[in-house]
């Protein structure tokens, strides 16, 4: 995994939590907060949703710490919980969005809104990322932003390596196409 601990090992902190030292969990939260927050933010595209999902993932991990078989790999285990929470939150958001669309045919033919000419690079990237299918966005972020190996990605997502490679490839192609499109505007 691309998650590394510093100072007191994750395993030592996990063991302290398991023996009742709740404060040790605060160290784990602080250690992983920003790294996992980055993934959630890019995956969900919304800071409020990302922080809600992140908090939920930390609480779920605490409740289920007994099921963390290898405390040395707490980071990877926690990451897996977050990936699943993001999927659930993303699906929920998609369902919410669908409620506002009563005419799927009209949606199909509607022009796609893009960042306007004044948008900066950050807006452009976030716009393009949000338009990727969630599976492609997940694979792209894990591979190119979190810089995980495909084997680790497969363990986290439950998807096969070939499928993940295909999702990353498609994500790259779609991002390239979208970025080219914005350059023409």
């Amino acid at each position: 995994m691309g998650i590394h601990s510093v100072g007191t090992s994750d395993a030592a902190l996990v063991r302290r939590v398991q023996t009742g030292d709740t404060r040790a969990y605060a160290d784990l939260v602080a250690r992983y907060r920003d790294r996992l927050g980055r993934y959630a933010l890019h995956m969900l595209g919304n800071r409020e949703d990302a922080e809600e999902v992140l908090q939920d993932a930390f609480v779920r991990a605490y409740r289920s710490l007994a099921r963390c078989d290898d405390p040395e790999r707490f980071g990877a285990w926690l990451y897996g919980i977050l990936v699943n929470r993001c999927r659930t939150a993303g699906a929920r958001a998609a369902r919410r969005a669908r409620r506002f669309v009563n005419d799927p045919a009209a949606l199909e033919t509607a022009p796609l809104a893009g960042p306007d000419g004044r948008a900066d690079w950050d807006d452009t990237v976030r716009w393009a990322l949000a338009r990727l299918p969630s599976e492609s966005r997940e694979a792209f972020l894990l591979k190119h932003v979190e810089e995980l190996e495909y084997e680790d990605m497969a363990r986290l997502t439950g998807a096969g390596i070939s499928a993940l490679k295909m999702r990353v490839k498609r994500a790259r192609e779609q991002l390239q196409a979208m970025l080219k499109e914005t350059e023409r505007v």
Binding site: V14, R15, V17, Q18, T19, G20, T22, Y25, A26, V29, A30, R33, D34, G37, R38, L41, H42, A50, E51, L54, Q55, F58, V59, R60, Y62, R63, S64, L65, A66, R67, C68, D69, W77, G80, I81, N84, R85, R87, T88, W121, D122, V125, A128, L129, L141, H144, V145, E147, G158, R172, L175, Q176, L179
Partner: protein, 181 residues
């Protein structure tokens, strides 16, 4: 890697600072929870279950194990006997496990924080059948059966929790406003 993709990736790799107040919110929430399973029976049993080991089994023993694993009917019924139904739209669900050799069985899941002491199942007249009725509000729940303080069984009559967070087998029950699955 293509220049554009590399540029996007570099941009997205920039550190993101999450509101540090999140730490306090997490700690406040977990302060109300019991110590995670490390020191509990469930935690110890779970680690024991996940430890690799070799064992031998006679065909008869195998059949008995299969019979114990041959579970479960998930029956839905309205709790019509309740004189004062709760304000929220909770419904009673009966969980059933066929385990003729079990001495004790608990239902564990999201709805009871996976605490094996909170929802013990009762053996019915047939001896093989263990049941418990749990009121559940609409939502999606992961659950499993915890047998004799050592065996952790998913419910083969229910959908497998494909998005299980913890890498452990469990089942999933979705309680909706209308139908359930």
């Amino acid at each position: 890697m293509d220049d554009v993709i590399e540029r996007i990736a570099r941009h997205l790799r920039r550190p993101v600072q999450v509101d540090p107040a999140l730490d306090g919110r997490v700690m406040r929430e977990i302060s109300a929870l019991p110590t995670p399973g490390g020191a509990t029976m469930v935690g110890k049993a779970w680690r024991w279950l996940r430890r690799p080991r070799q064992f031998t089994m006679t065909p008869l023993g195998g059949l008995a194990a299969v019979a114990a694993l041959a579970v479960a009917l998930l029956l839905f019924r309205r709790d019509s006997t309740s004189p004062a139904p709760p304000q929220v739209a909770s419904r009673a669900f009966q969980f059933v496990l066929v385990a003729p050799r079990a001495a004790r069985v608990s239902l564990v899941g999201d709805f009871n924080d996976w605490d094996a002491t909170r929802t013990p199942m009762q053996r019915t007249g047939s001896d093989a059948l263990w049941t418990v009725v749990v009121p559940l509000e609409p939502g999606r729940y992961h659950y499993a059966f915890f047998v004799d303080g050592s065996r952790w069984l998913a419910d083969p009559s229910a959908p497998v929790a494909r998005d299980d967070d913890y890498g452990a087998p469990s089942s999933v029950l979705t309680v909706g406003g209308g139908g359930d699955s």
